[in-house]
């Protein structure tokens, strides 16, 4: 138990996450070789987001934080989405 009473994350868990990250890296490289046109960007971002989520959830201990904390992560993400989204209403329709 650590200071907060949380279970100390074990080496096995971390190594497992790391392995998953490496696999996903391999997957994204493979996906890039395939001809998917527009969807290749979508696939790449999706895989990158999966990797980022693993890092956030396990390495950054988001898993052990309170619910409000977990929800707060979405605030900067939503902000960026708004920034890019509203700008694209200009870019797409000029």
């Amino acid at each position: 138990m650590d200071e907060r009473g949380n279970h100390i994350v074990g080496t096995k868990t971390y190594v497992f996450v790391w392995t998953a990250l490496l696999c996903l890296t391999g997957l994204t490289i493979l996906a890039a070789q395939m001809k998917m046109g527009k969807w290749s960007m979508v696939a790449n971002i999706a895989i990158a987001s999966a990797k980022a989520s693993l890092v956030l959830w396990f390495f950054m201990h988001l898993r052990q934080e309170k619910r409000l904390f977990k929800l707060m992560i979405f605030v900067p993400l939503i902000t960026i989405s708004i920034m890019i989204g509203l700008t694209f209403f200009d870019i797409w329709y000029r």
Binding site: I8, V9, L21, T25, A32, T79, F88, I91
Partner: protein
């Protein structure tokens, strides 16, 4: 709960909360750059694909593996100190630092190579190319450059924390500094997780 215990617990959570808030600002800082990237990729899709062929997937992939592994060693170093294994924590922190330096060394060679081939902002060779290619390389240098700066900052911070751990300032009872350094380092990793496909995997 006594006031002191409440305050001590507040300090730990408060320090971590403050660090997360700071990470939000870094997300927005890079977010602005991702905005520029997404705009120009949309406008110059074909040019970006062409420019992407100039990138070295191998170096990019190696650097990705380096950073992912450094996140592993960093996370393990925190678990180690929580368990009281100070020496192991120090070794793992040192490993993280070395991996970070390896990343920077790779970046140095990669950039040197590109510059030698004439691909740098305002170079006559670049200016002769299509607009999309000029912007792609501009984005490449700015985004990986500012990211590399953060890697350097992270390496410096972790080295500092390593010294504190050796000195006994960071211990199994008080490791928030190490944990916060870890949070910063993981964010640097997350940003690269997105930079990698956006620059190296447009094929």
């Amino acid at each position: 709960m006594t006031e002191t215990a409440h305050t001590e617990q507040r300090d730990y959570i408060g320090a971590k909360l403050g660090m997360w808030f700071f990470l939000f600002t870094e997300v927005l800082l890079f977010g602005g750059m991702f905005l520029v990237y997404s705009v120009y990729r949309e406008v110059y899709t074909a040019d970006f694909h062409e420019a992407g062929m100039e990138m070295n997937v191998v170096i990019g992939a190696v650097n990705t593996v380096i950073l992912l592994t450094s996140s592993l060693t960093m996370a393990l170093s925190i678990s180690a100190i929580k368990k009281g294994a100070h020496k192991i924590s120090v070794l793992l922190q040192a490993a993280t630092v070395l991996l970070g330096i390896a990343f920077l060394v790779n970046k140095y060679f990669e950039w040197s190579d590109h510059i030698r081939h004439g691909f740098y902002p305002d170079s006559p060779q670049l200016l002769a190319m299509s607009h999309g290619k000029i912007l792609f390389f501009g984005l490449y240098y700015v985004m990986t450059g500012i990211h590399a700066l953060h890697v350097l900052i992270g390496v410096s911070i972790i080295t500092f924390i390593l010294v504190l751990t050796l000195r006994g300032t960071v211990t199994s009872n008080d490791y928030i500094k190490l944990e916060n350094a870890g949070l910063f380092w993981h964010l640097v990793d997350v940003i690269w997780i997105y930079l990698f496909p956006l620059f190296y995997l447009i094929l």
